[in-house]
């Protein structure tokens, strides 16, 4: 069977492969090469070695965006997961209206980043108007605005995954703990949380990679204002490419670094998940 199928390569694989080459393979290889070049359009590239990478480290915007991304990721990962887990606990208690609650909490996840960003920009500005200031007056407002926005968008998503995890905890385990006289808190920390560890791993990595690569929401909410202080890494790369002529090579080098960090996160996730699977 394999032999007959093998001859069908042009039909089964080639169409996808052509699209994949235009969207990914060629741009990726060119991107790596161009990060070592000086260029304005991709046809007049000149090889200059590691110059672009050296320039990155003299670039305050990049360091600033890296620190902002780091700070934002830590705060939003913790808040999103804690709130989502609490909601999941509440929604697995068989109270009235669970389905309706679940529907509402999950809904923001479907709205696109650009639209979400503008909705919250208007909301936050309306609140700040009472104190006679705006979202872009102070980087702290932008930071917390982004945290609130991401919580609003991601809590429902993570909640759904936690609910699926909690529903898989066998009821006899919980009943056995109750008979042994365990308190509600003990059941939570000693039975439920250890049993949903796989869901916790999934949610942590989803929030890590989503916060780290955030772009649309950042662009719509503050666009980096004031003076690029609230620009995250993806936005900084975008600004380097399209906002500063002559810096295309530096932008591409930043993008390569960005890719390396993203790959490191993904590989850590893979390693952690693999190790867990062996244990089970």
């Amino acid at each position: 069977m394999q032999k007959t199928l093998k001859r069908y390569f042009p039909i089964f694989v080639v169409p996808t492969l052509i699209a994949f080459s235009f969207a990914f393979i060629i741009p990726f290889v060119m991107g790596v090469y161009l990060s070592f070049c000086k260029f304005k359009t991709i046809t007049n590239a000149q090889f200059i070695g590691f110059d672009n990478y050296i320039k990155i480290f003299a670039d305050k915007d990049f360091l600033n965006s890296f620190l902002f991304t780091l700070k934002f990721s830590v705060v939003s990962i913790v808040t999103i997961n804690v709130f989502a887990f609490m909601l999941a606990l509440a929604l697995t208690k068989k109270i009235k209206g669970t389905n309706l609650f679940r529907t509402v909490f999950f809904m923001p996840n479907l709205i696109g980043g650009i639209i979400l960003g503008y909705i919250w920009q208007q909301m936050i500005n309306a609140v700040l108007l009472r104190y006679e200031t705006t979202l872009i007056a102070n980087a702290t407002y932008g930071f917390w605005g982004l945290v609130i926005l991401m919580n609003w968008q991601m809590i429902g998503y993570m909640m759904i995954i936690y609910i699926a995890g909690l529903q898989n905890v066998p009821t006899d385990l919980i009943e056995a703990a109750q008979i042994d006289g365990a308190t509600g808190w003990q059941i939570l920390t000693r039975v439920k949380i250890p049993m949903v560890m796989p869901s916790i791993t999934i949610c942590l990595f989803l929030t890590v990679s989503n916060s780290f690569k955030l772009f649309d929401q950042n662009l719509a909410l503050t666009a980096g204002a004031p003076s690029k202080k609230t620009a995250m890494m993806a936005l900084d790369i975008y600004n380097t490419f399209y906002g500063r002529t002559g810096f295309e090579g530096v932008g591409q080098a930043k993008a390569v670094l960005f890719f390396i960090i993203a790959a490191a996160i993904a590989l850590t996730q893979l390693a952690v998940t693999r190790r867990k699977e062996v244990e089970q």
Binding site: V13, A19, F24, M30, L87, Q122, L219, A255
Partner: protein, 279 residues
């Protein structure tokens, strides 16, 4: 038992308050979309009054300024055809890569999986220039690019499922005289339905909401703007002038998503969970 009832009642009230908080931003935009544009910044949280009520004028304004229905059409065109292309071509590719074991197929498989971890920023500049040079900067070209970008996750998910499909059925079909294409479409594809729904939903949500790819490839100066691009086009400059049109446009952009969500909620939630666990 009484204590439990009480605590559940309190929990219910807390959740109701949270629902109100969650819906506030949406309520806020809807409210303001019916106010005259000059009144919005006076008191953004007030209900429209006789004086401030603007009827549908913001909506008419917003639709005219951005040509909203055309954007809706292009968004729908690109999303529907990209998802169809992804479903058809990546399921075929995944089937081939799983069933034919050679060095080439395993290299290709890892290449597709690898593309999943590469952030868009890594390829955005070169990809958009290449798309311009090869005349992919139109809605049909977008479908091809989305097929390429969506291939990684979709092939990964299809392969995971095909591995668990027993070979016997396919072999039986082959013995009965089916060629590989007939075997795939008549025997394998129907079995793939649950995964296909997940793949379709994940890709549809991503493509419908995607901003950067259509913005970079198609741009602002063409008639092919998708909804996110035209929202950015209208309000992109900070401190938008026509607040009313902006509010109306935001409401219009959410409506299709909410209708889609309420009609296919079950599949969306299942699909998202399956996608998270496998991806």
């Amino acid at each position: 038992m009484k204590k439990k009832k009480l605590s559940n009642a309190i929990l219910f009230c807390v959740l109701c308050v949270l629902v109100v908080i969650f819906l506030t931003p949406i309520f806020f935009v809807v409210l303001n979309s019916f106010k005259g544009k000059l009144f919005i910044s006076n008191d953004p949280f007030a209900f429209p009054t006789k004086e401030t009520f603007a009827g549908l004028s913001n909506y008419i304004n917003g639709i005219e300024k951005t040509n909203f229905f055309a954007s809706f059409g292009w968004s729908a065109f690109i999303t529907v055809f990209s998802v169809l292309a992804i479903l058809l071509f990546t399921s075929m590719t995944a089937y081939y890569l799983t069933r034919v074991k050679t060095k080439i197929t395993s290299v290709l498989y890892y290449l597709f999986v690898f593309s999943m971890i590469v952030p868009f920023q890594m390829v955005m500049f070169t990809m958009s220039k290449l798309a311009n040079m090869t005349h992919l900067n139109n809605p049909v070209g977008m479908v091809i690019l989305y097929l390429g970008f969506g291939a990684g996750l979709s092939i990964f998910m299809f392969c995971g499922f095909i591995k668990s499909v027993p070979l016997d059925i396919e072999e039986a079909a082959m013995i009965d005289g089916c060629n590989p294409l007939q075997t795939f479409f008549k025997v394998v594809l129907p079995i793939l339905k649950p995964t296909a729904i997940t793949v379709a939903i994940l890709n549809a949500m991503w493509i419908w909401n995607d901003y950067l790819l259509p913005y970079l490839v198609i741009g602002l100066s063409t008639p092919y703007k998708t909804i996110p691009v035209s929202v950015q086009y209208l309000v992109g400059s900070y401190g938008a002038k026509d607040m009313g049109a902006m509010m109306a446009l935001l409401v219009l952009s959410i409506i299709p998503i909410i209708i889609f969500y309420l009609t296919c909620q079950k599949y969306i939630i299942e699909g998202v969970v399956a996608g998270a666990v496998k991806g």
